[in-house]
């Protein structure tokens, strides 16, 4: 574990020194993400002009939820996105070779090696909005529930990563350029909606099969509505199940990896 932390420290160092070389990209990303944040916040603000509650949440509570998913999105953009972008290319072009021969988990290496230092500023902006939404909340909350929320959002980032991996890993067999990553971005919108709006089979889809609802909506719900054993149990069960599926698909994928010849 300590060794992996040290390795991650190297990745951070490398990524920052690289990012500073590409200034245009640096500023472009910041501008793009600020627009994304603005659109998301505005969407719910406008909706709430016409209705007092969305899925049982008032404006303050909705903003906490929006803060939650913007934060998860920013964490993923910063920590995983560049790696996820490259992964299908690596698999298709046989570039996994050097990762597979190292005495370190190749999954760790391929998922975390590129830290998007560019998006780091956006992570800060998202964090500011997140805390702003919490501090403007008129109901009482304590440090323990804040701590719980942050843990659940980190878990949410892991779920986001796992679903994304499940859409990318079929590349091992399809040899297509992107796997089902477009599907991921389309369905990913479900993360930006309160889970209560999903009923019937849609609810099963978004809270069990592709659990986008567990990324930000469940954590926000626990923070707003209080600790609920059933929800926590649901989160633990689905997260661990998802993680096991990702690991086994990854292992199966490596078995059929044919490594395009040099």
């Amino acid at each position: 574990m300590k060794r992996y932390l040290r390795l991650y420290f190297f990745f951070l160092q490398f990524s920052f020194s690289k990012a500073l070389e590409f200034r245009i990209d640096f500023f472009f990303r910041i501008a793009m993400d600020i627009m994304y944040y603005f659109v998301n916040i505005a969407l719910f603000k406008i909706l709430l002009l016409h209705t007092p509650l969305i899925a049982g949440w008032n404006e303050e509570q909705m903003m906490i939820f929006v803060g939650c998913y913007l934060l998860v999105d920013a964490i993923n953009m910063t920590v995983f996105s560049t790696n996820m972008w490259w992964l299908p290319f690596y698999i298709n072009r046989g570039e996994l070779d050097y990762y597979l021969i190292r005495p370190v988990s190749p999954l760790f290496f391929l998922s975390l090696r590129e830290f998007s230092a560019n998006s780091f500023i956006n992570l800060m902006i998202a964090a500011v909005f997140f805390f702003h939404s919490l501090f403007s909340y008129s109901q009482d909350w304590n440090l323990l529930s804040l701590f719980g929320l942050i843990i659940l959002l980190i878990n949410g980032s892991l779920i986001y990563y796992c679903i994304q991996m499940l859409m990318i890993l079929p590349v091992f067999w399809t040899q297509s350029a992107k796997g089902f990553i477009d599907l991921f971005y389309t369905l990913g919108l479900a993360m930006e909606r309160p889970d209560r709006i999903f009923k019937g089979w849609l609810r099963v889809l978004f809270t069990v099969v592709l659990p986008f609802g567990l990324i930000a909506s469940f954590p926000a719900r626990i923070f707003i509505e209080g600790f609920n054993l059933q929800t926590i149990f649901h989160l633990i069960l689905v997260t661990s199940g998802l993680w096991i599926v990702v690991l086994s698909v990854w292992r199966k994928g490596l078995k059929s990896y044919s490594s395009a010849s040099s």
Binding site: L7, D97, Y98, V104, S259, S262
Partner: protein, 308 residues
């Protein structure tokens, strides 16, 4: 020690006719193509040996190397290296093994080599003293000391290959797979890499499997060669013995108005073949000589070993 028994690898792909029509057709009915990249290969290599693996493009060299490095799973068969099954990817195996591919870079392009080395130090858990010693030794013998702090992408191809060699040898591997280490290098850089490998081999005595298209690499470094053709070994033995395989043959280099070509002819048929050639061609030049090692290996690679 490396011990390989009946190793096989088949790849399955799908054939598609060209064009949009072909793509549409393939959507409904795909033709499965099974390619046997390796057909039951067996051999042993002792510690300290350096072996040349030779074959035409697509003969199965790289597939074999990738199986032994643990990258690709074989379809069937056994392989044990230092007591490990390579494709199980045991960390204790990976820590003692190294792979260098002339066509694929392993160091970070945007950073100075030294940064990548520090990361490798952490990955392979090389202690400070050994790390320092190895950097010094490798940089000195490869004469690349001044380039360690330059961004890798700003280095020449030859310098980059030297950096790749350093990166691969920092942890003093006991098993080394060198896949085309001199590809694209100019003559002097090729020589430098060869010279270095020779010294390294005699000093550290790893098991080395070298694949190369340049016969010079093989001739200078490998006392033993394995020739692979269409997934099968057609020769595994001493390089010096290979010449005897064709002891009965002479090589004719024939130049006509249109082209120059080479043929191998048995000594006993030399007279009849040359007169045949003169009759049917407008010959400008004819040269009869003993086949060189290159000629022999090329001939084995293309036609296999002919029975006497």
């Amino acid at each position: 020690m490396i011990e390989v028994k009946n190793l096989r690898k088949t790849f399955i792909s799908h054939r598609k006719e060209p064009g949009l029509k072909g793509s549409l057709k393939a959507l409904f009915k795909r033709e499965k193509v099974i390619k046997e990249a390796l057909k039951s290969v067996s051999f042993k290599i002792q510690q300290g040996e350096i072996v040349g693996l030779i074959g035409a493009n697509g003969a199965g060299k790289t597939t074999l190397v990738k199986i032994l490095a643990g990258i690709v799973h074989p379809t069937s068969g056994e392989a044990t290296i230092l007591g490990f099954k390579p494709w199980e990817r045991d960390n204790n195996y990976r820590r003692q093994m190294s792979l260098i591919m002339g066509q694929k870079a392993q160091v970070w392009w945007d950073l100075p080599a030294l940064d990548s080395f520090l990361l490798l130090k952490e990955i392979y858990q090389i202690d400070d003293f050994l790390f320092k010693k190895n950097i010094e030794f490798l940089a000195d013998t490869l004469m690349i000391k001044d380039q360690l702090k330059t961004q890798v992408r700003k280095l020449s191809l030859g310098e980059r290959m030297k950096i790749e060699l350093m990166a691969a040898l920092l942890h003093q591997p006991k098993v080394i797979f060198l896949d085309e280490p001199t590809i694209g290098l100019d003559i002097s850089a090729q020589k430098a890499v060869r010279e270095f490998m020779r010294n390294y081999q005699s000093e550290f005595k790893p098991i080395t499997i070298l694949t190369s298209h340049y016969m010079e690499d093989i001739k200078e470094l490998c006392p033993r060669i394995m020739i692979i053709k269409e997934g099968e070994f057609v020769y595994d033995g001493a390089l010096s013995e290979v010449q005897k395989m064709m002891g009965d043959e002479k090589r004719l280099t024939v130049t006509t108005k249109e082209k120059t070509f080479k043929v191998n002819v048995r000594r006993s048929e030399l007279g009849s073949t040359t007169s045949e050639l003169f009759k049917s061609n407008d010959i400008l030049d004819l040269n009869i000589h003993d086949p060189s090692v290159n000629d022999i290996i090329e001939s084995i690679m293309n036609y296999g070993i002919k029975s006497p």
